[in-house]
Every structure is written in C-alpha cells, then in structure tokens.
Symmetry: D2
Subunit: 293 residues, 4 copies
C-alpha cells in the first residue's frame, strides 16, 4: 500500500485525511496552521514540516486548498510540492481552482517526471461522512488506475472525466447548480410563506418533492435555522461561480441563471452576510420581499 | 369504503384512477374523450356520462384537468361537478390552477353543502408508479382526515399545508424549481461539453452529485436523448411558471430565476419547440452556445 | 374646425385637453371627479355629465384613462362612449391598454358606424408642455388623416404605425425601455457612488454622456431628490411592463431585461415603495447594495 | 502652448490626435503600426519611434489603447511611457482600463516626479467629430487645470470626477448602459416587428421617443442595417462590461441588467458575431425570437 501525503488539512481536507487514516493508510500531512491538525496527529497521522516534506515522504500526495492563489502558495518555492516531486510520484489536487491553472500545473509536474491528477469532490462534509462522496478525476487513465484504490477509500464514486483540468471544470459545472437551486428553492419558500403557509411546512413539502436534491435536503433546513458555522460561505460559493462565469466566457457558453445568482451573492456581501453559509441567499430574497430578518 | 369519482383521465389523472382501482376502490370516471379511458374501463372502472354523473355516483370525487379554464369547463353548467355536489360529499381537485380560482371554487362548493380540497401532486408518472408521490392538501383538516385513506392509496406522503388554495400555491412554489433546476443543469452540461467532456460523462457525473434531485435523475438524461413523447411540455411548464409569477406579483415576492427561466421557455416556443418536454431548454441554451441541434 | 370631446382629465389627459383649448379648439370634457377639471372649465372647457354626453357633443372624442379596466368603465353601459358614437364620428383612445382589448374595442366602434384610433403618447407632462410629444397612431390611414390637425396640436410628431391596436403595442414596446434604462442608470450611479464619486457628480456625468435619453435627463435627477409627487409610479410602470411581458408571451419574443426589471419593481412594492415614482428602483438597488435609504 | 505627445493612433486615438492638430497643437505621435498614422503625418504630426520618444518630445502626453494589457505594453520597459516621464511632465491616459490598474500606474508616474490623469471619453467617433465629446478626468485638480485647455480642444465637456482611477470607473459605470439600453431597445423592436409593425417604423418611433439617447440615435439604425465596419464590437463592449462586473464585485454593487446583457454578448460570441458592432445583440435576440437572420 503506497504511503500517502496530504497538504491542506482544513474542514474538508482534514476529514478526507482522517478517512484515509481510518482505512489503514499511512498518511503524512502538512497544514499551514499545525494546531488544526492535532486531532489527526492523535489518530496516527505523521507530521510534515512543509508541503515538500509531505511529498518526499510519500508515493501519492493529495492537496486540498482554498483556491488558485493558495494552490500556488503550496506548490511553488523551495518548500513547495513541486520541489518534492520526482519520477514515479503522483500528485492529486482536490482543490477547486481555475481549470487553466490546474492544467498548467500538470505540465510542470510532468516536467519533473511525476504525474498529476485534478480530483475535486462533489459533496459536503456530511456526504463524505456518510460515505457517499463523488470524485471526478482529470488526467491520464493509467495514472488514475494507479491511485484508484486510494480514491475509492475517500468516496465510493470515482469518474474519470478527461485529461488534466477537466475534472475541476466539471466540478465548477456542478457547483453552479448549488447556488441556483438554492435561489429557486428560496423563491418557492418565500412565495409559500407570504401566502400564509408556515415556513416549516413549506420546507418540509419541498424537501419531500421531486426537486429535493441531496444538497437541498441538507441545506434547505438552513433557511429555517442557519447553521452555527458556515460549511460553505458566500465568498466560497461566489469564488466557484466566478470560475464558472470565467469558463463560460472563455468557452462561449451563456450562463444566465448562474450570472443572476452570482449577483444575489454580491447582494449578500453588500448586506454584510458574506461569512454566512451561502444558504443566506434566502435572507437576501426575504429582505427583497419586504420580510425583515 | 366510500365510492370514488374521477373526472379527467389523461396521462396523470388516468394513472391515478388506475392506482385507486388497483387498491380496490369503486371508481366511476368521466373523461372528455371516452376512448382514452377504455383501458380503465377494462380494469373495472365504471363510466359516467358527465362530470355531474361521476359526482352523483360517488361520495368523494377527484378531478385532474389541464388548467383554470378546463377546471371551469368541468365544474360549471348543468352537467358540471358543482351541479352534482350536495351535503356530505367531498370534491378533491388535483389540477394545477390559479390559487385564487381554486379558493373561489371552494366557496361555491361550500354553498352547496359539500366540501372541497385542493390536492395537487408533486411528481411525475414515474414517481406515481414507483409509489413515491407526494400530495399537498389545502382545506379543512377534518375534511382532509375523511379522505386521507384514499389519498394514501395514491401516494404515500400527504401533507396538509393550510386552508383552501394553499396546496395549489405550494405546488406552484415547488414547480418553479423544476424549470430553474433544469436550466442550471443545462448550463453545467454545456460548459462541460464545450470543454471537451463527453455529454454522457457530464450527465453521469452531475446525476451522481449532490445536485441530483429526483426530477433531474429522470429528466436529466433527456438532454442526451429526448423522450418520444413529452411528459410535461414547454407550454405546460410555462403555464405553471406564469401562475408562479402571477402569485409573486400579488404577494410581492421577487422571483428572479423563475422570471428568467420563463423567458427561456418563451425562447423555446419561438424556436418551435413548444410541444417538446421542457427539458428542451437544454436545446435552447445549446443553440445560444452556437451548438446546432 | 371639428368639436372635440375629452374623457379622462387626469394629470396627462387634463393637460392635453388644456393644450387643445389653448390651440383654439372647442372642447367638451368629462371626468369621473369633476373637481379635478375645474381649472379646465375656467379656461373655457364645456362640461359633459358622462362620457356619452362628451361624445354626443363632439365630432372627435379623445379618452385617456388608467388602463384596460378603466377603458371598459368609460366605454360601456348606457352612459359610455360607445352609446354616443355613430356614423361620421371618430373616437381616439390615448390610454395604455392591452393591444388585444384596444383592437376588440375598435371592432365594436366600427359596428356603430364610427371609427376608432389608438393613439398613445410617448413622453411625460414635461415633454408635452415643451411641445415635444410624440404620438403613435393605430387605425385606418384616412381616419388618421382626418384627425391629424388635432393630433398635431397635441404633439408635433405623429406616426401612423399600422392598423388598430398597433400603436398601443408600440407604446408598450417603448415603455419597457423606460424601466430598463433607469435600472441600468442606477447600477452606474451606485457603482460610482460606492467608488467614492459624489452622487451629484455621477449623475451629472451620466446625464452629459451618450446614454442620456430625454427620459433620463428629467428622471435621472430623481435618484438624488425624489419628486414630491410621482409622475409615473411603480404600479403604473409595472402595469406597462406586464402588458409588454404578456405581449412577449403571445408573440414569442423573449424579453430578458424587461422581465428582470419587472422583478425589481415587484421588489419595490415589497419594500413599500409602490406609490413612488418608478425612479425608486434606484432605492431598491441602493438597499441591495447595502446603502440604507 | 505645450507640446503634445500621443501614443495609440487607432480609430478613436487617431481622430483625437487629428483634432488636436486641427486646433493648432504641435503633436508628436507613436503607433504600433506606423501605416495607420500616415494620414496624421500628412496633416503635420511628427513621428516618434517609441512611446518613450513621444513622451520625451512633449510636455503633455496622451495615450489611447485597447485595454489594461495594451496599457502595460506601452508604459513599461526601456521604450515605454514611464521611462520618458520626469518632473513637470503630465501623462493623460484616455484608455478604458481597470480602475485599479490605472490607479497603480498613477503611483508609478508620481514616483518619477510626473503627474498622471485618467481621462476616458464618453462618446464615439461621431460624437467626437460633431464636437460634442464628454471627457471625465481623474487626478489632482491642479494637474487637471494645467491641461484643461488641451482637453477642451478635444471635447467641450470636461468633468473632474475625483482622484486617480475614478474617471475610468465612471466611464465603465457609463458604458454598462450602452449595452443594456441596446438590449432593451432590441426587445422593443422585436416585439413591434412580431406584431406586424415594419421594423423601420418601429425604429423611427423609438428614436423619436423619450428613450432615444444619443447612443441609440446613432446606433439604433444598425438593427436595420449593420455598419460595414464595427465602431465598437462585441469583444470591446464585453471587455467594458467585465470591468464593470469586476468593479461591482469589489465594491459590492449588484448589477443585474449588466450581468444579463453580458450573457447576451457571450451568446453573440457563441453565434460567431464577436467582430460585429455590439448592436448585433439585436441579432441574438432576433434568433432567440425565431427570426432567422
């Protein structure tokens, strides 16, 4: 069983690393803030002082960071991922970044004799813990085959969607529906609420109907009671929508409902709601409906 | 067990009547075109020459027609539903009509000593046949309780959402998400397709992700291969969106993604696609993306 | 010089009647509330006790009311316009109503041997008083020619756009730009304002630029200082947008920016701003931008 | 009278330089392609081999290039504008670029002891030649005062809107209305056209109405007969909208009609219309209305 490295042990990355530990893998992890990784060290994870160290200790290294800029920060420089890579090694980035940036990074990884995959996940912490995570993978098929057993230990569904950069594009193409579905759901709840139907009833009916996607089933109740801590906040969601809109522009695909939902996220920011879970678009529409929240 | 009447035996109404027959109910049905009801007569349904006759032969009569105008046609006049109603009878309309019209009709039913419920369903023919249909009910609770056993024989989930007219409002509030979710899904598929990911792969990934609502799971594949016959065509979908937009206006609820999706359905009509399943909004966006179909 | 009747002497209708008096015409006028017409009686207008009486006293009768329902109220019944019409008379409706309703009324006018024109105006009270009003006319050309001298006394520009009902359609097609232009203008002012440019400067620059339509030149300053009394309030503007959206649906023309602007007017209503001039969409966007107003 | 430099002698820049020559200024100009400047040399303009040479020969140097990247190309490096600047010189950039980039460049100009203004224009070649151009200026007021006589020789209206970067922001805030107004205008023309009103009549009526901004008066007729050469093509217009949307995101201002119009420009690109004048959004909407063009 190959030794596994993991760079970026935040809310999602940390839980994935934990899942790998649970499945019996030897994991060497690095995080910018060590404190957040203590719980993993307690579960047997080895500590790496840098991204490079994590890569050097492993055959296959994963990373999961917050965006294109953060990916540059962990891959470049003398302590970065690239510096540790060499022939035979595989680097799997699970972050949601610009498809172009991911593709370009794969080229630099190849120059060092290693291979890269982009492998973003669809789903949340809850989906992961329920063991229902979907992983999309971009890169060469034989490289995918080599790491498939590890990927299957993270989530059961692994789909090879195409060459480097395509998986992250596919992730972005998925995530635009997260925002749009929640906006439409909110329109429905508010219509019902202003007609005198209790919000709880409206949410219950909607979540037992054919529109109830897994995302709506766990996030829909947030319109009744926001979570104490955002799983995916307005800024994170908007980051993904901006990647989608950028790709739409480059590929000449009009994205009308994405563009409109993005404007509602901007409205959320303007209303001071940027750190809330993106389900707060409900609050935006509620205020636009004259309901003070 | 009360005798059941059924007015309007089209694609959905007919199958619901069939399901009631299958559960052992005595059903007396009427349809504008008798030929379409032959299969139900073969399964034991009794024929009524008019809506009124169906009501007179039954304690509880259902109707399922195509809209507000059709509802007027079957309820008014000497052969209509109203003429047959009297004390002790219950009339359950399952059509998607204007909430105001439904509420007004309930008043006229009450004047005749009978009681009305609006009980639209959420779901398609497939959902019905899988025994997973949700029914929303508007009206007095004690009336709901009386017909509950019959409703449960149609679909397992029955939710009382409020007084008369509220269930149909709730249905409309649900259906706006059908259109919007499919538009957003199409945006995602086209983004992937123009990035070089095969459409089949894109659809598969999306339908294994957290955005995959039951509706998308059965309708999403239509973007690869349209159904031979539309289950719910552009005109039907637009009828529901117009009811939503009308309600939004009356209740002062802005519905931005609904309004935009409605414009794409108008575009579908302008492109000559009005008789296709509303999943053809994918075709609209594909043409807007420069992909000839 | 033919005698002129005038039904509906409100803010706009009254001023048009006044202009006709000023040009030397004999005007017999009727208004639901006589008090509002006192100033015209003082200027020599004759009073008619009913729409029918105004028509009977005149060869050419104008009407200017608030919508399709009001038009029915003044044209039907024993005291209505229709009852007074007969061979040789001309009836010119200047109201903004449904094109279909206008066309149907023209048919009923023809049945009485008279002729009807729809002749809505483009422009406001200010445009009228500056003598720069545009009038669109729908109906038979020879009828238009007969009343042309009177129309020219109202506004200098008279354009025959087609048969009955087309002028009011053209008016609606014009008015959708009123709302959309003001929304876009507001987006620009708010962008500038949040970048630290004084609102007064932003408005001044925009109103000296190539986007400054006559409408924006008089209405743009309202974003700095709303008028004491609305010239054209949110409800009136929304009435016109709904007529446009209805026509778009019937004629299969997608109207995306109209649909979106209409949702912002609904937002204005929800925020309690429905009686303000429609320039209050600026306030809606300002609140959505986190600027409390 | 200070000697004037001019970098970037394209369609607009060249005509501005020509206007300065016509007003009696000594102009030293540089353009990437000398051939395009021959007509100016014939009118007395002196040639500079590089941006730096133009700056060195002048007290006040203007530039007018196609965007942020082009601005970098002419300002940086040993032959760039910055290299030629020094104490007492003024640099006036008239390009439409990112406000942040403009502001940052102003800082570097100041480090060399010179002063910079951003001075974009509102209007087209036609507006310029009619002598009705508006110039917005960002920067220190005393610097503005120094170059005011030259600016007035370009266009009559000069407005100081604030510190560095604000004028270009104001320009962007203006230009979003160009696109939106033309989309709304197209919606109106198509509504009229599908109701049977000749397009020529519809355009004429709209251009005599209160919505007829100067921009619509010259660009509106393009929906009847596109210009042989685009004055401002889809890509240029989209560049400006993207700057607006970027600013909206940074400043938390929702720009719904801008976002939607931008999606229609993407649709134009997808339909292969990117090199046409942006008035081609009419063609996009016409195709969406089922009218083949």
């Amino acid at each position: 069983m190959p030794r596994v490295g993991f760079v970026g042990l935040g809310m999602m990355g940390g839980r994935i690393a934990g899942r790998l530990l649970g499945a019996g893998h030897t994991v060497t992890g690095h995080n910018r803030t060590r404190a957040k990784a203590e719980w993993l060290l307690a579960e047997g994870m080895r500590w790496a002082e840098s991204p490079r160290a994590a890569v050097e200790a492993s055959e296959v290294t994963f990373s999961m960071v917050t965006g294109t800029a953060a990916l540059r920060a962990v891959t470049e420089g003398p302590d970065g991922v690239l510096a540790g890579l060499g022939p035979g090694k595989v680097y799997v980035d699970m972050s949601t970044v610009s498809p172009a940036a991911s593709q370009e990074l794969a080229g630099r990884v190849a120059e060092r004799g290693a291979a890269m995959l982009d492998a973003p996940v669809s789903g949340s912490v809850v989906t992961l813990e329920e063991g229902r995570l979907s992983i999309m993978v971009g890169g060469d098929r034989q490289v995918v085959d080599r790491v498939l057993p590890i990927l299957r230990d993270i989530g059961p569904t692994v789909t090879h969607v195409g060459p480097n950069g395509r998986a992250v594009l596919m992730k972005i193409a998925t995530n635009l529906s997260l925002a749009v579905q929640l906006v439409a759901f909110s329109e429905g709840v508010l219509l019902a609420a202003k007609a005198g139907i209790p919000r709880e009833t409206a949410v219950e009916v909607l979540l037992h109907s054919v529109i109830a996607s897994p995302m709506l089933r766990y996030r829909g109740p947030f319109v009744l009671k926001p979570p104490q801590e955002a799983w995916f906040n307005v800024d994170m969601m908007q980051k993904d929508l901006l990647l989608a809109l950028e790709a739409g522009r480059e590929l000449d695909v009009p994205l009308p409902t994405t563009a409109l939902s993005n404007q509602l996220l901007t409205t959320a920011r303007a209303m001071g709601l940027q750190e809330r879970d993106y389900a707060t678009v409900f609050t935006v529409l509620a205020r636009m409906s004259g309901l003070e929240e």
